[in-house]
């Protein structure tokens, strides 16, 4: 397994964590978030600053990072309670732009040069890199998936599903829209923050442009492609969208075009996602299993 493959694998794992977070907000709770990369960035910058200027270790900083990202998620989730769908979509895009601008222009965040020299993660005295970093990321991904799984089985998760399906009916059954929308937001943004922290310590150099709107679109595409609201969808989406550019790498010049064209075709013909209800993959699988739908 070459070093390059491991790098790609690690990035896929990290992006899958962020995508899982978005899936909680968009897939489980049915809210709109087109600026999720902002929280990815907040997590990255928070961890970077706490470990460089703050002198903390990755592990000590981690709870703080999750707390900060969740808190910001809480504040930015509040507008979602008052805005109609269309406005909300554009507000979340605007928030993404603002956060990136803050990272880019406020000197505290390193400005256009970003933050560099981020230390490696130390675990049991070892500085993590290469395969061990991949395993660490995979471990965090597994933990994230476990939390998502537990969430879907909890009353909180069920409340979010109900809100997604019909907010008016859900509230008449005791589900407070404010409480549970915010719960989904905080959980989803904290997961993005986790991904961000890992990203910062993996790349060891971050800059504002890594976390802009194109990244948000990428993450959303992973969730939609994989199957919104499913457990493994975000992971599958991250895998597919992470591997595609590599598959096309030999075609250098046509790479971006093929990537975009394929994304277009996939969304056009499988808008429910690869793992969604009625998707080709699901139907083929159930036919193979003997027709149980």
């Amino acid at each position: 397994m070459s070093e390059y493959t491991i790098t790609i694998g690690t990035l896929i794992a990290i992006q899958a964590i962020v995508a899982c977070g978005l899936n909680v907000i968009v897939g489980y709770a049915g809210q709109i978030s087109l600026g999720h990369a902002a929280f990815f960035g907040i997590g990255a910058y928070a961890s970077a600053l706490l470990t460089t200027a703050g002198g903390l270790s990755f592990w000590t900083a981690l709870p703080v990072v999750l707390g900060i990202t969740g808190l910001v998620g809480l504040f930015l989730g509040l507008p979602s309670l008052r805005l109609r769908e269309d406005f909300l979509a554009i507000t979340t895009i605007g928030i993404n732009f603002i956060v990136v601008s803050i990272f880019q222009y406020v000197p505290f965040f390193g400005g256009a040069l970003g933050i560099g020299g981020i230390p490696r993660i130390v675990l049991f005295g070892e500085r993590i890199r290469g395969v061990s970093f991949f395993l660490l990321s995979a471990g965090f991904l597994a933990a994230t998936l476990a939390i998502c799984w537990l969430f879907t089985r909890s009353w909180s998760g069920l409340a979010c599903f109900a809100l997604r399906e019909d907010e008016t009916a859900a509230s008449s059954m005791g589900v407070s829209p404010v409480r549970f929308k915010l719960t989904a937001f905080i959980l989803g943004t904290a997961m993005a923050g986790l991904g961000g922290a890992l990203y910062a310590h993996f790349m060891r150099f971050i800059s504002a442009t890594d976390f802009g709107f194109p990244m948000s679109v990428m993450i959303l595409s992973m969730v939609v492609l994989g199957g919104m609201g499913t457990l493994w969808g975000p992971v599958l989406g991250a895998l597919v969208l992470g591997i595609l550019p590599e598959v096309f790498r030999p075609l250098t010049d046509y790479r971006m075009f093929l990537y975009a064209a394929l994304l277009l075709l996939m969304i056009r013909f499988q808008p429910g996602g690869l793992l969604g209800e009625n998707s080709l993959a699901r139907r083929t699988f159930s036919r193979l299993k003997g027709g149980k739908s």
Binding site: W155, L158, T168, A170, S172
Partner: protein, 255 residues
């Protein structure tokens, strides 16, 4: 029990210049089935919405079980013991019928942190929900996706979900509309059985035969005002009520 279960005092609901409700007052006593009737646009659903918390009344007081509740949001009203069905059914389409009911049975957990982390997939929860489905006759559809059900079954599902809240008061908003003849009889039976189990009922109904036959008392609204109140026979013969309906081309159907 002297104090009424639900009491509305001078409830007004203004939407800008429009007076949807104008100083409406009435009481509902424990154990009774009270019908809210009136021509189209009289303000019946608006009235429901103030009771269940969807609207905050512009003025007036609502008391439920002795506590003042006007202006409280719907999820708090549910916790206080009011369940409702909707005029246009609102199932959770991608959840199964059983899951739709289970959502309602989580009422006691949604308000608190630790309970809301517990699992809803336990056997006891499923059994309780299945029992409610059996009560409304939907147990065979438990695994079906709610979005695929025909209207008659959806109306029963609405009722099942409201019952799962273990409410003191059930608000039924036109739960007979769109039903076929046989379904109407079944629904009437369900409503009666629900009252027998100790739940008081406030219902909106356009079908006069159903309303007259099912309700202990009726409140008639017209143009946002209370026109009359009393037992079905009295209402049936009340000249003002007749004028209110006939004056609009007679929307009361006898069948």
């Amino acid at each position: 029990m002297d104090e009424p279960l639900l009491s509305l005092r001078e409830i007004s609901m203004h939407f800008g210049g429009l007076k949807a409700l104008d100083r409406v007052s009435f009481d509902l006593h424990e154990g009774e089935i009270l019908g809210l009737i009136g021509p189209n646009g009289a303000g019946k659903t608006t009235c429901f919405n103030t009771v269940s918390g969807v609207y905050r009344p512009t003025s007036g007081e609502i008391r439920f079980r002795g506590k003042r509740t006007d202006g409280l949001p719907p999820h708090r009203m549910a916790a206080l013991g009011i369940g409702r069905t909707f005029q246009i059914v609102r199932p959770f389409p991608n959840l199964t019928v059983l899951e739709n009911v289970i959502v309602a049975s989580g009422l006691t957990c949604y308000g608190r942190l630790i309970p809301s982390c517990r699992s809803w997939k336990g056997r006891k929860t499923r059994e309780e929900a299945s029992e409610i489905l059996a009560r409304v006759g939907l147990e065979s559809q438990a695994g079906q996706k709610a979005g695929l059900l025909p209207l008659g079954n959806l109306r029963r599902l609405e009722l099942a979900r409201a019952l799962a809240l273990k409410p003191h008061l059930l608000l039924l908003d036109e739960s007979f509309s769109g039903l076929r003849h046989e379904e109407i009889a079944q629904q009437e039976e369900l409503v009666r059985k629900t009252r027998e189990s100790g739940i008081s009922i406030l219902l909106i109904e356009h079908n006069m035969r159903v309303a007259m036959g099912l309700c202990d008392r009726l409140v008639v609204l017209d143009h946002g005002r209370k026109l009359a109140e009393g037992k079905p026979e009295a209402i049936r013969n009340n000249p003002e009520v007749i004028r209110a309906y006939l004056g609009r081309g007679g929307s009361a159907n006898a069948s």
